[in-house]
Subunit: 316 residues, 2 copies
Amino acid sequence: MYIPTYDDVEQAHQRVAPYIHKTPVLTSTYFNDLTGAQLFFKCENFQKAGAFKVRGACNAVFGLSDELARKGVATHSSGNHALSLSYAAGRRGIPVTVVMPRTAPEAKKAAVRGYGGTIVECEPSTSSREETFAKVVASSGADFVHPYNDPRVIAGQATCSKELLTQVDGLDAVVAPIGGGGMISGTCLTLSSKAPGVRIYAAEPLNADDAARSFRAGHIIADDAPQTIADGLKVPLKELTWHFVSNHVTDILTATEEEIIDAMKLTWQRMKIVIEPSCAVPLATIIKNRDLFAGQRVGVIITGGNVDLDRLPWNL
Amino acid sequence: MYIPTYDDVEQAHQRVAPYIHKTPVLTSTYFNDLTGAQLFFKCENFQKAGAFKVRGACNAVFGLSDELARKGVATHSSGNHALSLSYAAGRRGIPVTVVMPRTAPEAKKAAVRGYGGTIVECEPSTSSREETFAKVVASSGADFVHPYNDPRVIAGQATCSKELLTQVDGLDAVVAPIGGGGMISGTCLTLSSKAPGVRIYAAEPLNADDAARSFRAGHIIADDAPQTIADGLKVPLKELTWHFVSNHVTDILTATEEEIIDAMKLTWQRMKIVIEPSCAVPLATIIKNRDLFAGQRVGVIITGGNVDLDRLPWNL
């Protein structure tokens, strides 16, 4: 298992810079008053393809040799990684195949196709997905870009907090969502190298708190099929992300579904930005753990803004 | 009738700068591809109190002598002007009374009270509103700050395009919504003085196209009770805004309810920002009048982001 280093992050940043946005950092008097902290929202919802995942996907795609790139890339995902990898491959002009359950939302499928991706459908089960994906790779020789358990992806995601450090001075803490752990691992990679005094909190839905339980137990615990509105955060940690979480995360905080929905709606109302349920989890944990953050300068990673506007959680 | 000049705009900007945001200008590759133009979105949805109206309200409130200010300010509005005047008066620490129909949304009333405003309710009719408002002014001696037919308000709104000119070079046109005409008058005031070659388009709902009909007829035509999703654009022109519209506007373009809702939803989806129906009207008119704007640099005024998230137009 190769553990990426900060050198990899610097290379990644040079590699991906032409294809991504340096996203803005927003502040909110309202949320500062509410939490007693000074919050700095790193807005990856404004990122290309609508989420931070394009950083890791571009680093993987543009790091391939021409020979490997010709065979294309492939992944399995029904979420932002599928969109991001399709965007990245489209920018390089190489084939990309995404294995998606046939039950995935049509909007997501349309977005993948819009970026030039090919979708191969599988049944909505792990066995069908693995079998289908193996066939795709065997026939095409495509490079597998895992959504998070891949050093290239983690080095790419690490460019987000690398930017944040140039945008905000004197941070005391950073809070990021945790699902499979790609974003939090990238955050750990950058901060442990460049700002080791900054505390790193991972924020997780209580309904999918496998990472929090793993953290307490000292080994990976994977849930079978957690149910949460924060659909980007259902997947389990893997060995590479566990390395970063177990070595560098200060604590993992959880929020209930109601707290997540409230924080999401409040962000739309007060900050006028469209954010996904997944990235409302950090704010929800900051609101409920006031003593941990009051009086401090806190970075909050807003991971993405790809939402189905016809199915908003407060209208369901 | 005093017609404000660009000197008034410069004074207004100095006066209001401590109390407002210099809002960002966003761009969107997606909308540039869709329209063939280069669009520059001036994002007043990120403004204090959630809308551009705080510029004019602050200019009126902070321009009062201490003696006049002590008696406070008053207005009638059930929309963004009510919030903005309450915010401005709160920042100066003077009383503010807003006459609102008792049927106005509770969320709007709560927001006015949240900024420290006093609400006096009237029946939802013009006669009740005027009678109630007259009593409020008679008893308090408060200064009446009209939502748009007031030179202080127009000079304040004019600071928006004054900022825009410092943020974007070489504009060919600017498109702003038109209701009572406060924003478009401010836009005319600034551009006619500082960038007279820039074309000025007003964008109006077809269902409330009294300004477009006034423009063609050469005199003010006021509708009785137009019905449109763009609830900020139902009010008629008045003599001061008519002065600017009739002298400086290039043309008034209209959009149907469906086109407005489509443009609003598309903005949320692709730009990840929360905008009101009213400020989707300019984009809707640009999309449908491609030949007018293709190949050009176009400023688009996003006027506000105060939306009832429980009643989104595409879910009604």
